[in-house]
């Protein structure tokens, strides 16, 4: 199972393709998604609705919907000195299960329905702990109560016994974070954990996550629409568009110096990152193409002001514009710059 890879990468996605079987054929939802995530980093994944952020998260832990499968690619996860190919593991086999919850914690989108309505919340958190550690129920309980307290759930001993419907959205969110982090996993993937919540609670929860990452040296992948949040918490950013990563780099590189036309358009639509606490990723002009359409060449071509004939001739490869900064666009010059648009409204 071992492979020679960069030991500093906790997770390395290599050309991951995901396909969904649907009534009238197959949808190619993730196309050659590659992401190299350094240990201890905080990666934000952004992109408009339907671009495949959640599918990427689900593919990593092999919890895709039943009709979806990883058709090719590698997902390498490093555990100590070992590198495990997650996609080669049996979906519900012991090896994969030993990683889920214990090594990779997961907070799914739509967290309001992510708790079992029939079980007490405390038990739902303890379940993960009891699954992975040989401890007694009482010990598990003590640790869950402790974590509840840390996460700002008031009266944690009593709340341990409560059912999800007795919790507010923000509190349920904290319970989800507790489930994802109780086993102190090396990697936590949070899929828009705060969209359903109001701004102050969003901020509190993000602070919680950021603290966890800093204090425990954990790696975080955060999927979000909130660009202000990205600039605040992330150190790496991946921009996705229609199943592909189109730009990847550090926050400085991607947010302050975007190179891909799509990222540029995104950033242009966010007035001032630091001023507003809650800037949602704005829509970029034009329709999002459907994943069902078979496109040749660049997926963004239909909306791109820089488009030329060559863009739609063949698949566009990632190119490095500076160390650690990759962009998927053929119109970048040798300095990694887009040409200046003549006449049109430039995004500069």
């Amino acid at each position: 199972m071992s492979r020679s890879t960069n030991k500093d990468l906790i997770l390395d996605l290599k050309s991951v393709n995901v396909k969904f079987k649907v009534e009238d054929g197959t949808l190619h939802i993730l196309r050659d998604v590659s992401l190299s995530i350094p240990r201890g980093s905080f990666l934000c994944v952004v992109g408009e609705s339907g671009c495949g952020k959640s599918v990427t998260a689900q593919a990593i832990v092999q919890l895709l919907p039943d009709n979806g499968e990883i058709s090719s690619g590698d997902i390498l996860f490093s555990q100590g000195d070992q590198v495990v190919e997650l996609n080669k593991l049996e979906k519900f086999g012991k090896q994969m299960r030993d990683i889920r919850g214990a090594k990779i914690g997961m907070i799914f989108q739509d967290t309001l329905s992510s708790l079992n309505p029939a079980h007490k919340v405390g038990r739902q958190v303890a379940e993960s702990l009891l699954q992975h550690f040989p401890i007694s129920k009482d010990e598990a309980r003590t640790r869950v109560v402790e974590l509840f307290r840390k996460l700002g759930i008031p009266d944690p001993e009593r709340r341990y016994e409560a059912y999800p419907h007795e919790f507010s959205g923000g509190m349920r969110q904290r319970v989800m974070i507790a489930i994802a982090t109780i086993c102190e996993p090396d990697l936590v993937i949070a899929d828009e954990p705060t969209t359903a919540l109001d701004v102050t609670i969003q901020a509190q929860i993000m602070t919680l996550l950021k603290d966890l990452q800093k204090s425990a040296g954990k790696t975080f992948i955060l999927i979000t629409h909130n660009m202000a949040l990205v600039s605040e918490v992330a150190d790496h950013v991946a921009v996705m568009y229609l199943g592909r990563v189109v730009e990847y780099g550090t926050v400085e590189q991607v947010l302050r110096d975007p190179r891909h036309p799509y990222t540029k358009a995104l950033m242009a639509s966010v007035p001032n990152l630091d001023a507003d606490k809650n800037v949602d990723l704005q829509t970029v002009d034009g329709q999002t193409p459907s994943p069902a359409e078979v496109t040749v060449g660049c997926e963004f071509a239909g909306r791109c002001p820089y488009v030329i004939a060559a863009c739609t001739e063949k698949t566009i490869q990632m190119t490095q514009v500076s160390p650690g900064h990759d962009v998927r666009c053929i119109r970048l010059d040798s300095n990694g710059k887009l040409p200046v648009l003549i006449g049109g409204a430039s995004n500069e």
């Binding site: 919890l63 299960r97 889920r100 799914f108 379940e127 016994e161 419907h165 007795e166």
Partner: protein, 306 residues
């Protein structure tokens, strides 16, 4: 609710064009009108209909079920004799079909296209498309007449004292009723399981690394039960109705055969009491279902949490 039902039963029975008095007197006596009148008076058939209803209601409530017009026997005695047989049949079928449906439905839902799913599909078609009594006849033909493994019916033969003595007689009628119940119940359980499997908390459970059997048992199954319990309540009348047919096919000396005989003879006191009992059983059952549901789902628990 119970009042509405009782009123319905009472007045419906009076809509019948058959004068109950005629059903009980031999033809040669029917000409003797004076005698008939006296009999009517004795039976209270000449009182005002509302009064008759109230008297009947009072009698029922106090366990005074009256007499069978046909045999002159006390209805309470008939019930005491027949009720255990029906309960034995219906409860066995209920328990068996519920257990089978829940297990098969769970496996069928958990593994779409697997063996359990296919089996449940076959049972579903058989149970829905073929009427209960026909299933009964087929089973009778196969197991009682062709291979003679099992008795044809009749609850008790001389010398059969314990439950286990009677057990072979129970198999065919219970199997018939169970198959009839099972059909819809399995499909329903399966679909409920499939629905639950798609809910977000199942993904959460899986993300904890919990083994699949635990995910199914502890998270999916319990949340799938609620709708199944409701269906069960709705199906109870059918089970009762089915037992009437099945009792007839297997000559089972229960309430079902009693009511058939009563209907044939227009023995209306018996019909009314039995209908009332069946209605009460169904009411009680739906109440039980509410209780079970509140145990399964904390959100409907009375004064749940705080």
């Amino acid at each position: 609710m119970a009042f509405t039902i009782s009123a319905l039963i009472f007045f419906a029975s009076r809509l019948s064009p058959i004068d109950p008095i005629n059903a009980m007197v031999p033809p040669d006596m029917a000409s003797d009108s004076a005698n008939l009148e006296q009999l009517r008076e004795e039976l209270g058939l000449n009182d005002h209909i509302i009064l008759q209803y109230l008297t009947w209601l009072k009698n029922i409530a106090t366990g005074e079920f009256g007499y069978s017009l046909q045999s002159g026997q006390k209805i309470s005695e008939i019930l005491a004799l027949r009720m255990p047989a029906t309960l034995e049949l219906v409860l066995s079928a209920l328990v068996l079909s519920t257990i089978l449906a829940l297990t098969l439905g769970l496996f069928a839902g958990a593994k779409k296209g697997g063996i359990a799913d296919k089996l449940s599909r076959i049972l579903g078609v058989v149970g829905i498309a073929i009427p209960d009594f026909f299933i009964g006849l087929v089973l009778l033909n196969l197991f009682a007449f062709r291979v003679e493994w099992l008795p044809t019916g009749n609850r008790v033969a001389p010398g059969q004292v314990t439950f286990w003595d009677r057990f072979p007689n129970l198999i065919l009628p219970v199997a018939t009723l169970t198959i009839a119940m099972l059909a819809v119940l399995i499909r329903y359980t399966r679909n409920s399981v499939l629905d639950t499997l798609n809910r977000d908390f199942v993904k959460t459970a899986r993300s904890k690394g919990v083994p699949e059997w635990r995910v199914l048992y502890s998270h999916v199954f319990r949340n799938s039960l609620g709708p199944v319990m409701v269906l069960l309540a709705f199906r109870l009348p059918l089970l009762v109705g089915g037992s009437i047919l099945v009792e007839t096919v297997f000559q089972w000396p229960g309430i079902g055969t009693t009511i058939i005989a009563a209907v044939t003879a227009s023995d209306y006191p018996v019909i009314m009491v039995v209908s009332m009992i069946i209605a009460m059983v169904i009411l009680v059952a739906s109440f039980l279902v509410d209780i079970i549901k509140s145990i399964l789902d904390p959100r409907v628990r009375l004064g749940g949490g705080n």
